[in-house]
Amino acid sequence: MNYNINEKGYYGEFGGAYIPEMLYPNVEELRQNYLKVMAEPDFIKEFDQLLKDYVGRPSPLYFAKRLSEKYNTKVYLKREDLNHTGAHKINNTIGQILMAQRLGKHRIIAETGAGQHGVATATVCALMGLECIVYMGEIDIARQAPNVARMKMLGATVIPALSGSRTLKDATNEAIRDWINNPVDTHYIIGSVVGPHPYPDMVARFQSVVSEEIKWQLQEHEGKTQPDYVVACVGGGSNAAGAYYHFLQDTDVKLIAVEAAGLGVDSGESAATSVLGKEGVIHGSKTLLMQTNDGQITEPYSISAGLDYPGVGPMHAHLYKTGRAEFIAITDDQAMKAGLQLCKLEGIIPAIESSHALAVFEQKKFQPEDIVVLSLSGRGDKDLQNYIDYFEL
């Protein structure tokens, strides 16, 4: 079984490029060039240098001793939370800004939900001196004020998405419309492994540095490159794609994908796409998505603004369908408790997205000798208000 993308841009039956003709020249230009550009020595050198000196890579692979004792297994945390801007998102935006430069683009657009990808995009645009426009749902702008301020300080223009449900999916629609209206000079930096081919593959490749590091870091810690499990949360799925990437074909390594169940999978307020979604087309990709029987895309819910996307990347849809990855749904309450527990046990305040992954230890029993690598995708600073409100701190 192949878990990577095929030559037509599909993971199994999922993926492709279901885009209006107006987007075809842009997407085709990218498709024809992305692998070639990524293989250029000069590109590799600049990408690696920036990841090292600017992002602060490699991120540590930390043996979480007290967490391991508590669950009687060996837990390693991949510390993406220590990256510049506080999450794994920057790995992708560094890669894509270098790609945009080589394609001769000088105007950058992006969508953002909670604002993490928007901040990561505004950051690299400032770094390269490129114009940056970030689309963000009107509702998200109101509830993520600090990140809106960050983007503005970094020189980006934040445009509210006023259509539809005024959240992440609508911000994505607006970014796509902007790209339709600006087909020549603009590059669209998508923040996850979603969208039309080649985006899911390109973003996964930029994020694959995570699993590349896990392999040699684990060799140093344990004398072997393979963990028994890799655990990551999945919204669109970019941190999971990065953490899984170099283990996809190695089926001795078990993959666990953690989705946000919100108030409960059957509550009507959830973002557990694998359970609630059906095959369909969203934002240019055939994948699993939450929708009505009539094919209208529905609005998901999670306490985590980074996980409430109604679809999932086509790679993950394929991993679900084939059973390559085990999907576990974690509620708001379970995630919040797991997040607070990490603070107390390890002195690390995780992003609420990552807290969902951490909650797996209450749901699934691991063996004492199991090596479990968990992608700690982001830090919790941005979620402080949520933690304060939830725990009445």
Binding site: P20, E21, M22, P25, I180, G280, H283, G284, G295, I297
Partner: protein, 254 residues
Amino acid sequence: MNRIQTKLKESKKLLSIYFTAGYPSLNDTTTILQNLEKSGVDMVEIGLPFSDPLADGPTIQASSTQALQNGMTTEVLFNQLKDIRKTVSIPLIIMGYFNPMLQYGVEAFCKKCQEIGIDGLIIPDLPVDVYNDDYKAIFEKYGLINVFLITPQTSVERIHFIDAISNGFIYMVSSASVTGSSSGFGEEQTNYFKRIADMKLNNPQIIGFGISDNETFTQATTHAKGAIIGSAFIKHLTNKGVANMDAFVSNILK
């Protein structure tokens, strides 16, 4: 012969109108269609509303959101259109995004269209190559014409590919934009219209996006077989309701 093909053989320039089904009110569909035919419109695109219409600007988007709130669904639309051929004889096209069709079942959708007397489909996010590989046979089985878009950025090679697969007309997007965003055509667009006309394609071209009045209609149809008006008509429906279509249409065709 399909009604679209027959219509395209007429010597006149064609006016096609787009409206979103279920807007302004859920049950306006048949009234709008009947009134448009009476007003002298040549062809109609019935928009099947979608929650996330990527290629549409704010006007059509807002009408889609409203139509969905009004209760429009694929099934409701098919029921409304069940007897439409008793009163309306101009070509009818359903324009909608791919996901609702996929959920209905592409073959079931096409079969239903044939039963009703729909002549063609426009599905902006179903790419030409996917259509060609997976769905062309189904469309042909039910006598449906699929209409593809080209834009000023579409390469000559791709235009020829699209022309070879088409069997009705080519929907020429006037400029790089979503619907409803430009006002008036400049030299760049006129040159693009001429360039495509000079290619002498097998399929006639009908221009859409940015047509809103007599001036833009005339500019477009100087080089193409016809023009499509969408957002401007939606605005008319919003302001004047379903009654005064004669005034709107005669203003375009004057």
